[in-house]
């Protein structure tokens, strides 16, 4: 953390007297909290995260045995606030449990992509030369495919399923993070503190991971938050195409796909609610990501 504080305390001495020094992250956090839209995004994200984490623990549900054909396609009521689907299953319960699949894949895929992508980008940018050329060429090849199409191709290759769609989406997202990480490394490499670290005899790995990496985090963090939104959408799209979560396990995209056939017969609730959930989570992560970007942008920093 020492490097971080050294960056932010480069403020006039007078200010240091009027208010205690704040770290970049604390500063950004405060600005994030004062952003209305980001607040809304955070509320949504926290809500769905809690849903994904705690619903399966406190309200255990076995989708394998969940079927009551007599109660099929009942409109919303007190007993079933979001109605029932064609198997007579409670839509609200399946949405609550589906959050784990949708968010899990979204967050998981981005985490994997960030880990691999950033590592590739850091090394590529720092080492440079032919390694950089080769790695970035590979990333360009990956980037040249439309994301969802490549994900479909990957799933078609390794077979449908939730775990495989997670893999597919993360593979598709790797080049984005690799590119960003490399770009930041290229600019940070020229900074005085890196030269200073060189001068005192620090090794390459130490410089890369102790000095450069922490300072390249903010753009990656912003992209990753927005990336989660995109990954959730892609999960839903794969589920919609029948390539993601397999029946009878709930996942929002798959629920949407199963319900499209009721478009003509008036059972709107099986269609509306999963769609609404996809929309809300994606909206939440997008708002949060936008707020983060504003908060971390030094040019927008207020006193």
């Amino acid at each position: 953390m020492s490097t971080l504080t050294s960056v932010s305390t480069a403020s006039p001495v007078t200010q240091t007297l009027t208010r205690p020094p704040r770290s970049l992250w604390r500063d950004a956090g405060q600005r994030l909290l004062s952003n209305r839209l980001a607040q809304l995004g955070m509320v949504i994200v926290v809500f769905f995260t809690f849903m994904a984490l705690f619903v399966p623990i406190f309200f255990p549900y076995n989708p394998r045995v969940d079927s009551d054909l007599i109660a099929q396609l009942k409109p919303p009521s007190l007993e079933h606030p979001m109605g029932t689907d064609e198997q007579g299953r409670d839509v609200m319960r399946r949405i609550a449990h589906g959050a784990q699949a949708s968010l899990g894949v979204g967050v998981g895929a981005v985490l994997i992509a960030v880990l691999i992508g950033t590592t590739i980008g850091l090394i590529s940018g720092y080492v440079g030369r032919s390694l950089d050329l080769g790695l970035m060429f590979a990333m360009d090849v990956l980037l040249s495919f439309p994301g969802l199409l490549l994900a479909i191709a990957v799933v078609a290759l390794i077979g449908p399923g939730l775990r495989n769609s997670l893999l597919a989406i993360s593979i598709v997202s790797i080049p984005i993070y690799a590119r960003i990480a490399r770009a930041t490394v290229l600019s940070l490499k020229q900074q005085e503190y890196v030269t200073a670290a060189h001068a005192v005899g620090a090794k390459g790995g130490r410089i890369l991971f102790r000095h450069i990496f922490p300072n390249s985090l903010s753009p990656i963090l912003v992209t990753a938050t927005l990336g989660i939104a995109a990954a959730i959408l892609e999960t839903a799209a794969l589920g919609f195409l029948g390539l993601g979560q397999q029946p009878p396990f709930p996942e929002w995209g798959a629920m949407l796909a199963d319900s499209v056939k009721y478009l003509t017969s008036g059972a709107w609730w099986v269609l509306l609610f999963p769609g609404l959930m996809i929309m809300l989570t994606v909206l939440g992560f997008n708002l949060l990501g936008d707020g983060l970007r504003d908060a971390l942008d030094p040019r927008l920093r207020s006193g």
Partner: protein, 596 residues
């Protein structure tokens, strides 16, 4: 701020796009009206028409607007009959296919010696004018229609009949051999006529004169004439067979009222009226027939409502009642002749225990499935034959639906903790239940029915993972015995119980279990069914088929779920569509009237 607003709009757009995409999927395809209008303009050779049609479909929206305006000209009868099918044809060589989706197309192109009359399974003359049979039932002599030509100009005669039978049943025939080497099997010929070469029930076929053929059978066959009326025993041009070989699938040439124009994969098959069709009284009423592939039930119905297609098969059970009451549509029901079942693969070690199979039979709540997922057109099945067949066993009593009994049976079989893993081909694998990806007459919504069955099974402690794959792969993996537990069904082809029971439970000619039937192996049953097929007295045969159903039930070789009266929906302006219990329907009588 610009970008933030964009970000806000993104998820909204995504949802709307998903909904709109679902609703508009059929509308996005080129509407048929376009084709029709273009045809009106182009009255010259059909080849030219196709080219023009293609051009319109791929061209800019501006052209489309012009075409749409042209349709505003009233009271001009449409030239094409467009049928919305549930999936993609597998192949257009009737000798190879077994599925109704391919059959829908080949029925219009090809003809056999006899065909089923209207909405029955009574064989009536088609390419054979008349026939006689010897007293011992071993000799059949057919008098052929004269002056019949194939679409490629080849003459249809006794020689063509013999060449086709040689292609189907002679393993030394070059084309037959080519197909077998390409991985195809002549499944129906083997099943209906007992096998190939010396195993075939047909000993020889002779041309008495160019318009007379004589069949000599090794032993009499009860359903012989009904077999010949099936949609697969229809004649291809011998010239075309030689020319195309294994590519006959994509180059069908028959004598039927419609001839093949083109097959756009995953889109549609186009057929045109055959100008030199021999049967002037039954000449096709429409210039063109298009069989379009629309796998999604709702999308297909929306296409019908929009007038893009004129008829369809397979609909959401919930939609059936609505269609009945809607003046824009006509609802037709095919007489029940179809059974959906759950099949065991006997290479799965656990399925060889009758207790395990009984647990399956008692765990599944068939009545709930039929009531909830068949839209009022289904019946609970307790045996293979549908109740309309004369071999149906009315005294048979089904296993009770009883989850507790199923659990106990599993425990007795040594699976007190449930059954989630099985030994398949000597490998431990998770137990998979395969459901087909397309809507079929016997399973209008396989995924929902499969999910319901899986839930019933799970309640009894049998945990299956649901699996599916595209239709052609599904069928070929079933044929090779690679599916451990699978849903499939059957629509009777010829109104004879033999076609239901023996097709599935007769062993191969050398008494080996068949891979396509999950290696089911019951010699006593097979012998009984063979005897029944070789008997010509119907009352005697009926008794044997009833007994065979009891044997299948007692051994629980399979779990039969439901019979269905498959519904068909037509536009109100479509006349002359006759639903046949076998699903073998001819489009030459179909007419699309101009809408006022």
């Amino acid at each position: 701020m610009q970008s933030r607003r964009l970000k806000l709009a993104l998820p909204l757009m995504a949802l709307i796009a998903l909904l709109v995409a679902a609703a508009c999927a059929p509308a996005a395809q080129p509407p048929v009206v376009q084709t029709v209008v273009v045809e009106k303009v182009q009255t010259s050779a059909p080849v030219v028409q196709t080219q023009v049609v293609e051009k319109v479909q791929t061209s800019a929206p501006v052209v489309q607007t012009v075409v749409v305006q042209a349709t505003a000209v009233p009271a001009q009868a449409p030239q094409a009959f467009v049928f919305g099918a549930q999936g993609e044809p597998v192949c257009l060589d009737p000798a190879i296919i077994t599925d109704g989706i391919s059959g829908r197309v080949t029925n219009q192109i090809y003809e056999g010696l006899v065909k089923f009359d209207k909405d029955t399974t009574n064989p009536v003359p088609s390419l054979a004018k008349s026939w006689t049979t010897s007293a011992d039932g071993k000799e059949w002599t057919f008098k052929l229609q004269e002056g019949v030509k194939f679409h490629d100009g080849t003459d249809f005669n006794a020689d063509a009949v013999i060449k086709n039978f040689d292609y189907w049943g002679n393993t030394k025939n070059a084309q037959h051999d080519g197909q077998v080497k390409a991985g195809q099997i002549f499944e129906y010929y083997e099943a209906q006529f007992g096998g190939f070469d010396e195993n075939s029930i047909i000993e020889k076929i002779e041309a008495v004169d160019p318009t007379t053929v004589k069949f000599t059978l090794r032993q009499p066959q009860g359903p012989f004439l009904n077999n010949l009326a099936m949609f697969v025993f229809v004649f291809a041009s011998p010239t075309a067979l030689e020319k195309y070989g294994v590519d006959t699938c994509k180059n069908p040439v028959g004598t039927g009222p419609y001839k093949f124009v083109e097959w756009k994969p995953n889109e549609q098959v186009t057929l045109d009226a055959f100008a030199d069709y021999w049967d002037k009284a039954n000449a096709p009423k429409m210039q063109r027939v298009i069989v379009r592939n629309i796998p999604n039930n709702s999308a297909r119905l929306l296409a019908l409502a929009a007038g893009e297609i004129n008829a369809l098969e397979g609909m959401e059970p919930r939609d059936v009642a609505a269609i009945k009451d809607d003046p824009r549509f006509k609802l037709l029901l095919r007489p029940t002749n179809t059974t959906g079942y759950l099949a065991f693969n006997y290479n799965v070690k656990e399925f060889n225990d009758p207790k395990v199979r009984q647990a399956f039979a008692q765990a599944i709540n068939k009545k709930a499935i039929v009531d909830a997922l068949y839209g009022g057109t289904g019946l609970v099945a307790n045996q293979f034959q549908p109740p309309s067949l004369w071999g149906y066993n009315h005294d048979l009593k089904d296993w009770d639906y009883d989850t507790e009994a199923a659990k106990k049976l599993l425990a007795d079989a040594g699976f007190a903790n449930g059954l989630s893993e099985v030994t398949f081909n000597d490998k431990k694998v998770p137990l998979e239940l395969w459901y087909m990806p397309v809507s079929r007459p016997y399973y209008p919504n396989p995924k929902d029915i499969g999910t319901a069955m899986a839930a019933d099974l799970a309640k009894a402690g049998i945990n299956v993972s649901l699996q599916t794959v595209d239709w052609a792969t599904y069928l070929s993996r079933r044929a090779n015995g690679e599916l451990p537990l699978y849903m499939l069904g059957w629509t009777g082809d010829n109104g004879d119980p033999d076609n239901f029971v023996c097709y599935f439970f007769c062993l191969s000619a050398d008494d080996k279990p068949l891979s396509r039937e999950g290696f089911v192996n019951d010699k006593a049953l097979s012998d009984l069914l063979r005897k029944a097929a070789a008997t010509t007295e119907q009352a005697e045969r009926a008794k044997m088929y009833q007994e065979s159903e009891q044997m299948i039930h007692d051994n629980i070789w399979r779990v039969f779920i439901a019979n269905n009266q498959p519904p068909l929906a037509l536009g109100a302006n479509v006349t002359g569509y006759i639903p046949n219990p076998t699903g073998t329907e001819f489009f030459n009588t179909v007419e699309v009237k101009a809408t006022p």
